[in-house]
Amino acid sequence: MSISNLLENWSKFRHTHPVDDKPHDPYKWAMSIDLDACSGCNACSVACYAENNLPVVGKEKYAHGQVMHWMRIEHYWDEDVGEEGGREFPDQGAQFLPMMCQQCEAAPCETVCPVGATNHTEDGLNSQIYNRCIGSRYCSANCPYKVRYFNWFNYPTTDNVWPAEMVQQLNPDVTVRGKGVMEKCTFCVQRLRAAEVTAKSEGRLVHDGEVQTACQQACPTSAISFGNLVDQESRVHRQWRAQQVELDKDKQAKDDHEEPSELRGYRILENMRPYPSVMYLERVRESAI
């Protein structure tokens, strides 16, 4: 049975999923983040803590780099600020960057997991199966963005992480992870699944705006948009198209043009070919001032 199945479905098993010959259908969840709008206020990060049962690790573990923020706000200063011979002040501000799992289409983390605990889903997510994970941490070692977080301790039983009262706040739709497993941003998969199931039971597809990620929902400047990249009408699809960013390219056609353009869309570390599902829009700074 097994060999015959193998031979009969050989071509199916030899598909390179999914970047070239097998496009996603009917869903491909993707995001775009407008860095010009992002003010770096951290609301998304806190919303993520609330939605996804992230433990607060405390000062000591934070100092050890064991923090669990799936969504972190990074800021970058201009290189010459504060350097010798450089500018004295960062007088063009900081550059904030919300960074979470980029849900790569060809994720470097997926192939290296020895037990297959992280896989690609049909709707284009990079999934993490907590109870399959044995904690080899190879995925994180191989993640170019370093957005995977490991449960170094058993947070549910750690003092002051979730005291008895705070347990009641935990989202029952999301697992509370025990020690020794890897975790990361899921694009709020619990919300996606609920929306997909509802849509399916009503015999339709999820329409744009029906489902929001927690970070998107909270973002005070609406810098984050999220949706189905397959859906031609979705805001995300229109944004990607308008910015001429294509999912399965490691270099966008527009990047070859020399002349300055108004297109701001780019993906981080695109040249390493992870084909991330998050497009960022460059921050704009006025040159007249």
Binding site: G65, E74, C113, V115, R132, G135, N154, M272
Partner: protein
């Protein structure tokens, strides 16, 4: 500087080696006790880490891997020289390997077993380690065959089982000697069982010879593949400092290097503890030392090639990692590695040092230290200076748990090794006999043809 006497009585060979199974020097017991104590430290650390979580090792994001993986590579690497001595030199008919290959082969086996433990120690959920084993299971989920870690597991399993088989098969004639010579008791029963009724008949010897040669032929590519696969754990990733073309040969050279250094250390210890002065002779030591020197230079070259190719490439990320290795937090260790791995072996070029046991002992320990540092310097700096700048230069220092585990692994290895040497003949008796027989035949032949005076004498 005397080599093994060609006219040594074969009965004396048996007698001397079998004596090692019964009354070693007192130092043996001291070593055994220390090894057990060291192992106890590691056990304590593991119990603590198992109960509290991996966090007690001070690993963090992004430092996902630490000393465990470094030591894992170290121990895997150490195993390679056993194969070098038993298989490669066997194919080349280098007869001087014969008195020492047995313990080298045992070293292979036990260092692989030590390396395997580090895999378990490293896992966040070691109690689920069976998820990584490829066996038909009710979960319907197989491990991910695409993961270099699984290749690792497979390669190590193949290597370990083949090494054990090779060690055992090669030991059967000696086990028969033990069976014949040992007084009654559990040992006799053990040897009787293990020697499989070996009587040295012509049919047995004939098949034995072919089998030994065939397995040796398999072991050589296997050994190379094992460390290449360990190299691919790193080479297959996209991380700067790991994604380097020369990694597989570099790893293999490093493996042989650290193995040879370990052989020198163990040679000196065994020679003293089991009174093997007559078999583990200085000319043999000298040959190993020269071999080590040669491999050290190969390793140095490959190291230089790695630096050069990184330097010459346009891969700025890899370049940064290299610069950071030489000037960042890890600089003392990185330079320590260069010193121990490339400068210290230069002393081995001096004839007087090649047979100076105390100096060699110290040098071999330094080489081993250098090679351990090398593994650490492969693993750690990439984590603190990867592609993504947000996580750069975040300080991380392994906790006592990690150090304790590394410390204890030496105890575990020593314990296994020392027990082995006490239970099984660590010098191959039948092969030493073969060696002296062939040598005496050769000198006889030379004498007969009158060339003895011209060529033979100088050899010893």
């Amino acid at each position: 500087m005397k080599d093994i006497r060609e006219d040594i009585a074969w009965a004396k060979i048996n007698q001397d080696v079998l004596k090692s199974l019964e009354n070693p020097r007192k130092l043996y017991w001291v070593i055994l006790f220390v090894a057990i104590a060291m192992l106890g430290v590691a056990l304590g650390c593991e119990v603590y880490q198992y109960n509290v979580g991996m966090g007690v090792s001070n690993m963090d994001n992004p430092h996902m891997w630490g000393l465990y993986i470094a030591s894992f590579i170290f121990w895997i690497g150490m195993s390679h020289s056993g194969t070098l001595l038993s298989a490669i030199l066997h194919l080349m008919h280098a007869d001087w390997r014969k008195p020492i290959y047995r313990f080298a082969e045992a070293m292979t086996t036990f260092s692989l077993m030590t390396a395997g433990l580090f895999v378990a120690v490293h896992l966040g959920r070691v109690w689920q380690i069976y998820y990584a084993l490829p066996y038909p299971n009710e979960r319907g989920a197989w491990p991910n065959f695409q993961s270099p870690l699984l290749w690792d597991a497979m390669a190590i399993f193949t290597y370990l089982s083949s090494s054990i088989i090779f060690l055992y098969v090669g030991m059967i004639p000696d086990l028969a000697i033990c069976r014949d010579r040992m007084h009654e008791g559990w040992r006799k029963k053990l040897y009787t069982l293990l020697s499989l009724g070996w009587e040295g008949t012509d049919r047995q010897w004939r098949n034995f010879r072919v089998t030994y040669l065939t397995v040796a032929c398999f072991l050589i590519p296997l050994a190379v593949s094992v460390h290449s696969i360990v190299a691919s754990d790193f080479g297959m990733s996209q991380q700067p400092g790991w994604h380097i073309t020369s990694f597989p040969p570099y790893f293999v050279a490093g493996a042989l290097y650290s193995g040879c250094a370990a052989i020198i250390t163990l040679f000196i210890i065994l020679r003293y503890v089991f009174r093997f002065e007559e078999y583990m002779t200085l000319p043999i030591l000298k040959k190993i030392v020269r071999l080590t020197f040669a491999i050290a230079m190969v390793w140095t070259y490959l190291n230089a090639v790695e630096f050069a190719s990184v330097w010459y490439s346009h891969d700025q990320a890899s370049k940064d990692v290299l610069i950071q290795k030489a000037s960042g937090t890890y600089a003392p260790f990185w330079w320590g590695m260069i010193f121990c791995g490339s400068v210290v072996p230069l002393t081995l070029a001096f004839k007087r040092i090649q047979t100076n046991i105390p100096v060699l002992f110290a040098v071999s320990l330094l080489l081993n230290l250098g090679m351990w540092l090398e593994r650490w310097m492969i693993v750690a700096p990439t984590f603190s200076h990867g592609i993504y700048p947000w996580t750069w230069d975040h300080d991380q220092w392994p906790s006592f748990v990690q150090w304790g585990m590394v410390f204890g692994s030496f105890g575990w290895f020593t314990l296994l090794f020392m027990v082995f040497c006490k239970v099984f003949p660590s010098v191959s008796m039948y092969e030493v006999k073969e060696m002296v027989y062939h040598r005496s035949q050769e000198s006889k032949r030379l004498e007969e043809t009158g060339k003895f005076a011209a060529a033979g004498k100088g050899a010893h």
